[in-house]
């Protein structure tokens, strides 16, 4: 057995020496792009990133409610994807795969953060609490976004994944590590709360 075949037997993905492939990414599915990226196509990565990064970033932004943390986590997520691309199983839906990695990165980061007693700003002082925008939102979308931010984490995530990221109930259940019924219930309860918030907004407006 040669060294490389021994490595393959052990499941260790070793970069091959052949030149990266150049592929046309037009009309490719996200799964096809992921495959091409695994085969070494930078163009495929660019296209994949262009397609999925807003969804991933929006999801992380909603989880963290903090732009810089969301951007950091987006980098962490793609670093993990880059390292793990050899273990991507062909045919696996890419968006749930990426969202699950993003969610895990967020949970890891939150666990580390909770072990610290307080976050200090760069000059060593306690950070100021975030100011709530007092002004009434000018349109219904703003009100909806604000109402969504006010929902419990579980409801917000379920709605974000299914309504904004466009995952199916089954995919969202996989990402959230729960059952389809639980996701349905969270969406239903979340929507009930959202509707109340929007009703009161329209009355005030």
């Amino acid at each position: 057995m040669t060294a490389s075949s021994a490595d393959a037997w052990l499941g260790i993905a070793i970069p091959r020496v052949e030149a990266p492939s150049v592929v046309s990414t037009a009309g490719m599915t996200a799964e096809g792009l992921m495959d091409a990226y695994v085969d070494g196509s930078a163009e495929a990565f660019d296209e994949l990133y262009r397609r999925v990064s807003p969804t991933l970033f929006g999801y992380l932004l909603r989880l963290t409610r903090h732009r810089e943390r969301a951007e950091d986590l987006l980098q962490v997520t793609f670093a993990k994807v880059h390292r793990a691309r050899g273990s991507y199983l062909q045919g696996a839906p890419v968006l749930p795969w990426l969202l699950a990695i993003a969610r895990r990165s967020f949970l890891d980061e939150r666990r580390h953060a909770s072990s610290r007693s307080e976050d200090l700003s760069s000059d060593g002082t306690l950070p100021e609490p975030r100011q709530q925008d007092a002004a009434l939102s000018v349109d219904l979308s703003d009100a909806l976004e604000r109402a969504l931010d006010g929902l419990p984490d579980a409801y917000r995530e379920a709605i974000q994944l299914t309504k904004v990221a466009g995952l199916s109930l089954v995919e969202a259940a996989e990402v959230l590590n729960t059952t389809e019924t639980a996701v349905k219930l969270r969406i239903h309860r979340g929507y009930t709360q959202l509707r109340k918030e929007l009703d009161s907004f329209t009355r005030r407006a």
Binding site: G11, P15, K163
Partner: protein, 233 residues
Amino acid sequence: MNSPDSDPLADLWRKPEAPRSEVSACIREQCTRKLQARRGMSTRTRLLASLALSVGLFCMLAWLTRGRTRIDGSFRSALFGAAGWGLVQTAILWVGLATPPGRRCSKSIRLVLAVLTPILFLTYVGFAAPAWVPFHEAMQGHSGTHVVSCGIVGMLFSALITGGVFLLWRGTDPLTPGLTGALVGLVGSVAGGMAIGVGCANQEGWHACFSHGFGALAFTALGWAAGRRLLAP
């Protein structure tokens, strides 16, 4: 309850915004610098290697213990049992690992599989035992020592197979790594349990349950914990 097709808020959701261009540039640099093909083993290769590992270690133990005196017919029935559980193992590997994450059968079905199969295996081991002695007799003196030593060998074989299967599938499941890990532990422990069942001459009921069958419960639980670390990218 709202179905996804009749979402009353569908028009109100904002399109997600893109990250800042400098962040995107940084990520692109990180992910495309010296980019080369990096394809791991195919799903089929991983599946076949997992089965080969189980079968290989099973055959090795059967070969090493071939000269032992056994109750008439027990070796043959153990082999038939092993063949049957080999099929169960293959089905679990197919359903729980070889199908790409996101396209697997529902989590509830896999959860039921992970909970019921070890119980069924333990029940099978108990039923297949040709003789039972009182519990205190089985656990004292030479019999008791044999329960422990045989259990350790069984655990060792289960650990070898489980570890090998984890290695073959590591980093492949970000969606349900704990559950998939439990199935890996189950596959390894069933193979280990059957191997020690064929290799061990003592087919007494308590001995078989504790030394040959109990590993299925233990390794399924351990696999759950290990899977969260090893199978998630």
